[in-house]
């Protein structure tokens, strides 16, 4: 389940990068505006799920790093850090949104997985066809790296241990429930 949520937030990152295909001063402001929006979102709607509490400080740190980089004129670094913050925050939001899955169990997961897979397949096709000649290579690299992570994450989600457990449980119970865990990030 964690993988499918990661997939959905990767889609969000891809959307952000698509709007930044040719960065200018105005787009640096756009990055700053997005940082402010996420900071506000985190403040107004803090992460309360006990399984995800460790994420809050990581998101704050990533947003601070993105803000520092943007203030220092380091647009590419600010974009990279913003992507990490967006990844963590949207992942936490999506993971906290368990009501639908708690209610209908595996069926809800399957439906979300199916929709995300279709979107990913379309995005993958678009990514290969996209014209990058007017964009700095870093923008393309960040977008492709996010794209490259998305489909393996999606495929892993379908047959990840929690999903296998849910599929087994669904044969015994009407309302199987999984428990989400979060793994610490890689070393810097």
């Amino acid at each position: 389940m964690r993988q499918i949520r990661k997939t959905s937030l990767i889609l969000a990152i891809l959307g952000l990068l698509a709007t930044l295909s040719s960065p200018t001063v105005a787009q640096n402001s756009q990055v700053k505006a997005e940082i402010t929006r996420l900071q506000k979102s985190l403040k107004e709607n803090p992460i309360s799920d006990p399984d995800l509490k460790s994420l809050a400080s990581m998101i704050t740190d990533a947003l601070k790093a993105a803000e520092d980089a943007a203030n220092g004129g380091q647009l590419y670094l600010s974009l990279e850090r913003l992507g990490q913050a967006e990844d963590l925050l949207q992942g936490a939001r999506s993971a906290a949104d368990k009501a639908e899955v708690d209610k209908t169990g595996l069926a809800a997961f399957e439906e979300r997985w199916g929709k995300a897979s279709l979107r990913l397949a379309a995005l993958d096709k678009d990514a290969h066809a996209r014209e990058w000649k007017d964009s700095p290579l870093t923008i393309r690299a960040l977008a492709e790296a996010a794209q490259g992570r998305a489909i393996p994450c999606s495929k892993a989600a379908e047959d990840s241990p929690p999903q296998r457990a849910q599929k087994m449980a669904s044969s015994m119970s009407d309302k199987p429930k999984g428990r989400l865990t979060f793994q610490s990030s890689a070393p810097r």
């Binding site: 040719s22 960065p23 200018t24 001063v25 787009q27 640096n28 790093a65 520092d68 980089a69 203030n71 220092g72 004129g73 380091q74 647009l75 590419y76 670094l77 990279e80 990514a127 290969h128 990058w132 000649k133 007017d134 964009s135 700095p136 290579l137 870093t138 923008i139 393309r140 690299a141 960040l142 977008a143 492709e144 790296a145 794209q147 490259g148 992570r149 393996p152 890689a186 070393p187 810097r188």
Partner: protein, 178 residues
């Protein structure tokens, strides 16, 4: 701030030879006590190599380059020594020189610029706090290993010097009835 793309584009290509070499070096380095003490670093390194290979196979060559350079950075961190005050000063000088060189280039070196921005963020904190030992090492690794890997990736791939050790026999058969 001028951030439009530079006129000379980076000539992207498959990085499979470099990735295979880096994977071999990583496997060779995975020996105790390093494999135990730096286990999380090895996990990060191997995951970046895997991501780069998958991106390369999908012809996402820009993403593959980014992941490959990130893997090169992780690999460099395995053996990077601590830096004394003189070495730290040299990092700052070298970083400034590299930043000027990239800025003056007519090529789209924005991926190299991203890593230089990272190195700068390691060595200069906005709040004035001193960098950690790992941050100094990280900046040195970017200058000494990531940037050379980046420039090497701009050149045509060199054939692997190592034989694969595998042979195949191909028998061509002409079917007489077609």
């Amino acid at each position: 701030m001028k951030l439009e793309r530079k006129p000379v584009a980076f000539q992207l290509r498959s990085l499979l030879p470099e990735l295979r070499t880096l994977q071999q070096k990583t496997n060779a380095a995975f020996q105790p006590p390093k494999s135990i003490d730096l286990h999380s670093r090895f996990i990060a390194l191997n995951s970046q190599i895997k991501l780069a290979e998958e991106l390369d196979a999908s012809r996402f060559y820009a993403g593959a380059l980014y992941a490959y350079l990130e893997a090169a950075r992780h690999y460099g961190m395995l053996d990077a020594p601590a830096l004394d005050a003189a070495a730290q000063a040299k990092v700052k000088n070298d970083l400034a020189a590299a930043t000027i060189r990239i800025g003056a280039s007519s090529s789209d070196d924005s991926i190299a610029q991203l890593f230089l921005e990272r190195a700068a963020s390691y060595t200069t904190h906005p709040d004035g706090s001193p960098p950690s030992a790992d941050e100094w090492r990280g900046a040195r690794v970017i200058l000494d290993q990531v940037l050379p890997s980046y420039y090497a990736a701009q050149k045509p791939a060199t054939p692997s010097a190592m034989p694969s050790g595998k042979t195949i026999d191909i028998t061509l058969v002409r079917w007489p009835y077609t």
